[in-house]
Amino acid sequence: MPLLEALRRPCDPAGVNTAAPVDHDLAARLERFLARELGADTVRVSGLDRSTEGFSQESFTFTSEIRRGEESERREWVAKREPEAGLLEPYDLEPEFRVLHALGGEPGILAPRTPFFSADPALLGRSFYLMERLEGRVPLPAPGADGGPPFDDATREALAPQVTGALVALHAVDWRARGLDFLGDPGPGRAAAECELAVWKTRIEHTGLRLQPILWDSLRWLEENLPETDEITLVHGDFRLGNFLVTGSGAEARLTGVLDWELVRLGDPLEDLAWCSCALWRGGTLFAGAMVSPEAFAALYAERAGRDADPERLHYYDVFSVVKMIAIMLTGTRAFLDGRTSDLRMAIFDHQLPFLYALLAATRGWLPGALP
């Protein structure tokens, strides 16, 4: 279902997901599902754990012991399930599943193999998909325990070209040939920016929360300054530090996966570049993704993609990125206010929002020196 269509669905204040809780026997349900899908005699699930990372979809990690006759195999999985309420509601997991199913395991793109999806609420209570668990840790866009940056110099220097390469590979996917045109081609000119702005403006309006004047003014600025592009690519939508899987450190550091594909669609590739460079994800450093200066990141991307990283267009998406994050936080705040979630993490956005409004002022160039 296209996002705009999904957004037009009325929001059920009692919660769009009314299935009975099934988490008490989640492991048994996963065992039955996997045994059926894999044609196994038995599947045993162990180490089932709900991940604390990720504020949107629910993520569960687990190990499966798959038995067929005398043979047995261990496989690591991540189950992504639609949340009871969340930051990107209303949810529809199917488009991202179809993209992950098509691209998973492909060299360069680093998307996890994602074989299974079900919208049947009888299985896990809500829609879900299963993907293979990739090796690695998820560095956060925040200072480390010692207050230092997420990466040392050698690690960030090793990772920067790999992250750039993954973004270039994603943007190079021939989405028509891969059958991904169901995502909806916005078309040439200003349409990509216009469609994307409409989506996030609708999300903001959907919350029914009062607009801060600076947000109102920035939405108008975005409408009045829509950039043009005739080059439509796959856009990850949340390509940034916090969604990267990494192994090793120093010169041995390797990017092993790119996660959280729920905002994937067709659009302007520079939107991903700006989002990844945004001050939100610099982990207390001056660097895009805590790795490399925003200018160097843009230059590296432009060189490897063979695509102009137009500074004016990037600035537009810088402002858009902050507005998008504000929209996400307002959505979480709304879910909390409606009592549709008992996840208190939704409430913390209420006091994170002023930082975002200040960042918006800085990104608009009104707080000189506030941003690197």
Binding site: Q212, P213, I214, D343, A347, Y357, L367
Partner: protein, 164 residues
């Protein structure tokens, strides 16, 4: 902004539904119930400090006065009078209601900028922009360092700001 009683209700609900079921030690469970008891008795005794709304209302009315002055200077007395009337109308009521009404007037003033006489646009825009920046800084000032890292990891950091 989420009203404080809503935040406290949410914190109590989270403790009951998300935390207590996973707390094994009876002493720790007793402590969690004590936190709920404290919060439950706090919820009807707290309110947002009025000084925040008063400062916001003052800054917004000064910005709108600046816009009105720019309009008068540019010869649009009628638009200036409309704006001044909106500021005067917002003068009564609680600081929260005043701040809310004046924020709406700021948005109206931003929307009207393209219709103003050329000479008034730049000074009016500067007055309003000054308010937007001051509001952003004012709202950030009382906030505590983020614990997003701890929240995301589910672990305390060595320098947890919550203990500062």
């Amino acid at each position: 902004m989420i009203p404080p009683e809503k935040l406290i209700d949410g914190a109590m609900r989270t403790l009951r539904e998300r935390v207590l079921p996973d707390v094994g030690s009876s002493f720790a469970r007793g402590q969690a119930y004590a936190v709920i008891d404290v919060l439950n008795n706090l919820r009807d005794r707290v309110e947002i400090k009025r000084a925040f709304a008063e400062a916001d209302a003052l800054a917004a009315s000064q910005a709108l006065d600046g816009v009105a002055a720019a309009l008068r200077e540019a010869g649009d007395a009628s638009a200036a009078a409309t704006l001044e009337a909106a500021v005067a109308e917002a003068a009564s009521g609680s600081p929260e209601a005043r701040a809310e009404a004046l924020r709406r007037s700021v948005i109206d003033a931003l929307a009207a900028l393209p219709d103003h006489p050329e000479a008034a646009r730049e000074p009016a825009r500067n007055a309003l922009r000054g308010y937007l920046v001051s509001q952003a800084i004012r709202d950030v000032a009382p906030l505590k360092p983020s614990m997003l890292s701890e929240i995301s990891r589910g672990e305390a950091s060595e320098t947890s700001p919550g203990e500062a």
